[in-house]
Amino acid sequence: MYQSKILMAAPKKSPLLNRRIREQIIESSFFFAAITSILVMVLIFYFLIHESFSAFMEVGIFNLLFGQKWHSAGNIFGMAPIIVGSTMVTLLALIINIFVGVPLAIYLSELAGPRIRSVLKPAIELLAGVPSIVYGFLGVLILVVYLEKSFDMLTGRSILAGSILLGIMFIPALTTICEDALRAVPKEFKEGSLALGATRWQTVRRVTLPAASSGIISAVVLNVGNIIGETMAALLVVGNVARLPSPIFDVFDQSAIFTSVIAGEMGEVPHGSMHYHALFAVGFVLLVIVTVLNISADFVRAAIKKKFGEY
């Protein structure tokens, strides 16, 4: 829009030509930087497909995805236990996450005074940066020990431990995005509701939350991706035993999730073995799930915005 048209009409030729060439070079190097991320995404997909291809071929796609047993010593690779474990850990963690994270966001955006907010908000942002290995360390030394003692379990490493830890870990991430979404709701909406005689809670529930729902739901979807993809903390507390829990809803049983299987077993496998390729296949499934979640978070946001209208 604000491209200089003067350049074209300028009489002197040589310095301006240099100038234009220089501009071209700079622009194309920026262009290269911009397409790097596309390139990286493509490369990640390429390498994961490439390395997992032989596993899918030799084990069979159906057997690999839904086989009941993951037994690396016997070269039996079926992802059903991992998928079940991941689903349970993610769902439970999400429940904990939402039940604490969303009220906290409501507190920050609606109830807290400016002074409390100015302390609390940076503190929560800060906590989003605590490295996952530190959470894992605390999980091993505190959470696992506590669960072991209070439920008299053989080992405290369990689906429950994993989901509690992951649920707590991602509270700051959820709260930050939800609070932004709640704050983006125009003041007029709330004032209109209050002026009609609604209490503050009625306003929050019937006006602010629905109006911010696009942001909140996409934050939740993104958080599902975060929880599924979290590695170090989960690796240390879920027990990393890939078998179906019996009975299937036994949250006190040890389990394995996508990331923990990869991180726990990749260090020991010989390069190029079937186990190696099977682990890449697990990574590929994880990548597909997370990518689908990410793209759908975008669509959810767009769809809900369409329904409620822009503001």
Partner: protein, 424 residues
């Protein structure tokens, strides 16, 4: 309705006692609970108080303030009262004894006395508070608001205690391990002795390498997207790709590095830096884009009107104005790269103490594997049962946490400082 009703208030006070004490015993899991008679007394008192205030609810009411006992109000209240009495009777009749143990639905957990009883009392205390507040406000919408908002406040307090607890316990346990030797010596005997100097060094160079890769690429991409790009199609694809990259789990980056880089560069500082750099790319692109977007168009137009070229405008006008935002993004990127373990586990690190070899004292040898704080901590966690490394592990965790939190804090301070200062 201005009159304060003392009866529901009294039951709230009793319930708070039940809440705090049962939470305490739930947490410490003691075999003996000396408070049980008090809990039972409290439950009984609450039952009586709540029934009394429910009966007296419509006593002095005229038609306007009369509370109608709909099914939605009466049934939950009755159920709660039955629950309180049931808990009381179960304990009183000795069904819930100190030697209670039962398994349930084949779950691999045993539910014992010191878990079950505090949990039942905790639940009861929540119900008492709910009913008392409802009765206190005569089941009005105002009562509902008070109820919900006190729950919301409770969740805020809970989070704060939890997250504050995480930091203070690491500080408390880790501070004992910190000494000058710990920070300046390499570890030996599997991390049981010595310090973490090589790990700090290795982490530093990995993060530096990562920033060298991600900062130019990330800021460049953001500039292209915000300043140059006219093709909306390309812009959209790049935006989607950045969003996806942002969500790619760190362990997948590790796999990618293993397949892509280790074959070429081996397990080395270079491979690790590239992987961490690529992982940081979306963070830096997104934050830089935010910063560039906030620079008003009038500045660009002014510069172009003076005859500056596009690049001159970007370099002399846009970048300086967006610098604080861009810097914040980079600092956050540094903190993220310093705290990641999974991407470098198979691509860059080794456990045995190896100082970074330097050429001419300044240029690190990028073809060698390095030590890393996160990976060191991971190994110490694996060794916990077998060797005496717990103190060292707490110390390492403290150093790592402190580094990451300080870097993040700097980012937040920079942002807040400039947010106040700059006004267009």
């Amino acid at each position: 309705m201005k009159k304060i009703k003392p009866v529901p208030l009294a039951s709230i006070v009793v319930a708070l006692f039940l809440l705090i004490s049962s939470l305490y015993y739930l947490l410490i899991q003691s075999e003996e609970i000396p408070l049980v008679p008090f809990w039972m007394g409290g439950l009984l008192v609450c039952t009586v108080l709540i029934s009394a205030s429910a009966l007296a609810l419509n006593r002095n009411a005229d038609d306007r303030t009369r509370v109608v006992w709909t099914r939605g109000r009466f049934l939950p209240l009755a159920a709660d009262l039955v629950y309180f009495l049931a808990v009381f009777l179960l304990v009183f009749s000795g069904r819930i004894r100190p030697d209670l143990e039962f398994e349930f639905l084949g779950l691999s957990a045993v539910f014992t006395y010191d878990l079950v009883l505090p949990f039942l009392v905790l639940l009861a205390s929540f119900l008492v508070i709910k009913d008392s507040i409802n009765l206190l406000y005569g089941y009005s919408t105002r009562g509902r608001e008070v109820l919900v908002f006190s729950m919301v406040r409770l969740s805020a307090v809970f989070t704060l205690l939890l997250l504050g607890g995480i930091i203070s316990i690491i500080l408390y346990k880790g501070i004992g391990a910190i000494s000058w030797e710990f920070l300046t010596q390499p570890h030996f005997r599997l991390g049981q002795e010595g310090g973490i100097s090589t790990c700090i060094e290795g982490s530093f160079w990995l993060v530096m390498g990562a920033m060298l890769i991600s900062a130019p690429l990330g800021v460049g991409a953001a500039i292209y997207l915000n300043e140059y790009s006219k093709r909306t199609g390309l812009k959209r694809i790049v935006t989607i790709a950045v969003g996806c990259l942002n969500g790619v789990p760190s362990v997948v980056y590790g796999l990618f590095g293993l397949a892509f880089l280790v074959a070429t560069f081996g397990i080395s500082l270079l491979s690790g830096s590239i992987i961490l750099g690529l992982m940081n790319l979306p963070t830096i692109i997104l934050t830089s884009q935010e910063a560039l977007k906030s620079v008003p168009n009038s500045l660009r137009e002014g510069s172009v009107a003076l005859g500056a070229t596009k690049w001159q405008t970007v370099w002399k006008v846009v970048i300086p104005s967006a610098l604080p935002g861009v810097l914040t993004g980079m600092i956050i990127g540094v903190a993220r790269a310093a705290g990641e373990t999974a991407p470098i586990m198979w691509t860059a690190v080794t456990f045995s103490a190896t100082p970074v070899h330097m050429f001419y004292g300044v240029i690190p040898d990028v073809t060698q594997p390095v030590n890393n704080l996160c990976y060191h901590l991971l190994n110490l966690i694996y060794f916990l049962g077998a060797w005496d490394v717990e103190t060292k592990a707490w110390g390492t965790a403290l150093v790592l946490l402190a580094l990451v939190l300080i870097i993040n804090m700097v980012a937040i301070l920079v942002r807040n400082h400039y947010r106040k200062k700059i006004s267009w």
